[in-house]
Symmetry: C3
């Protein structure tokens, strides 16, 4: 089987770019998640995974990541991306939520918090804490906002 | 290299949710594929992979999965998701197909069966059997239907 | 952690199909990337990865891949997909870009080359070489163009 991640770090950033993919690439670099091979997952915090604020992953690695991202090319638009981790009381697995859209980061954070609450409610699981990380960007020409939970070892 | 899966299980489910992602999360739980880190793949049944109806994967694992999924917020809409596995006569690799849309599950199953037939035809490969798994949902507010083939070890 | 790829191969192809997924499946086969479980990544060339034109991966394997793909069902439309790898002067990681759309392959190649240039510029990294692979297709009924960088071991 594939090894289960044991650490995580939450990151967010934003950027303009000459193309949509360049804007996304710039947002990853801005978030500190550039130069990696991101493998998108839907999205559970593995049991026992430890938050590591100092986590640095060598370039080129295959990194499981839960993320929200938006690219927008309407000048003046406010875009946001957020991720949230719901930490359970029981020390077992947690739940990760992702969100992005044309709204400010406070809206994003408020909504994603509720999404985590919903996810714990449907599981009848007591929620101990919610950690949120978000980025907001005002579009000039082509802008991207990105927020992700990097899962690592 | 990444280890090649040796087992698989087909699952399907559906759910309402307060947001699109909560509906997706609920559909995964309903299908018995909740609490996993799904890594979406396009989508071949590895040679020799064995169907395991009783497969239970511990929470938080990275699980390769081929899936179809649809979220819809039009009250009264009928949505379906289906997966199909084409089993070859030669005992070599099989082909997995995914489908989702605004139709009933019988339509989904009929169409996806034909998709598997097409996939074997283009390969000039004799088809021994087709296994199908599907879910149908009538949308109340925000609904999701999900069907997937979990690949495991 | 997941093992970092050490080899890569660039492939491209196109196909018609009876459904969108069958067209995609056909394009993968045409590209020489069929019969694999593609794990889509965003998208860095690992440091030291070696180009292997003769790379053949056994069916059913989980293969990290950066790709661009487009399905189109407008008869007569010209569609293209391209991937590009930017090779750095410093021998460290490279950058992979993907592009697809309703344009010819020369347009695709010209644009994706610029995307690689942009990606190196934002990193202040000297660019030694750009390798491009692309496919163009004129749609009959349902067509797909695919281009990808297979990452392997």
């Amino acid at each position: 089987m594939l090894p289960m991640p044991t650490k995580y770090r939450m990151v967010a950033g934003s950027s303009e770019g000459a193309t949509e993919l360049n804007a996304f690439d710039g947002a990853l670099l801005s978030a500190g998640a550039g130069n990696l091979n991101l493998l998108r997952v839907s999205s559970i915090l593995p049991p026992g995974a430890v938050y590591d604020e100092t986590l640095v992953i060598p370039p080129g690695n295959l990194v499981p990541v839960a993320y929200g991202s938006i690219v927008n090319s309407r000048p003046g638009a406010t875009i946001s991306a957020a991720v949230a981790v719901g930490i359970p009381e029981d020390g077992d697995y947690g739940v990760i939520m992702e969100l992005s859209g044309e709204f400010d980061r406070f809206t994003a954070e408020s909504r994603i918090r509720q999404m985590v609450v919903n996810a714990f409610k449907i599981r009848n699981k007591p929620l101990a804490d919610v950690r949120i990380c978000s980025a907001e960007h005002m579009v000039d020409k082509i802008g991207c906002a990105f927020a992700g939970v990097l899962l690592w070892y």
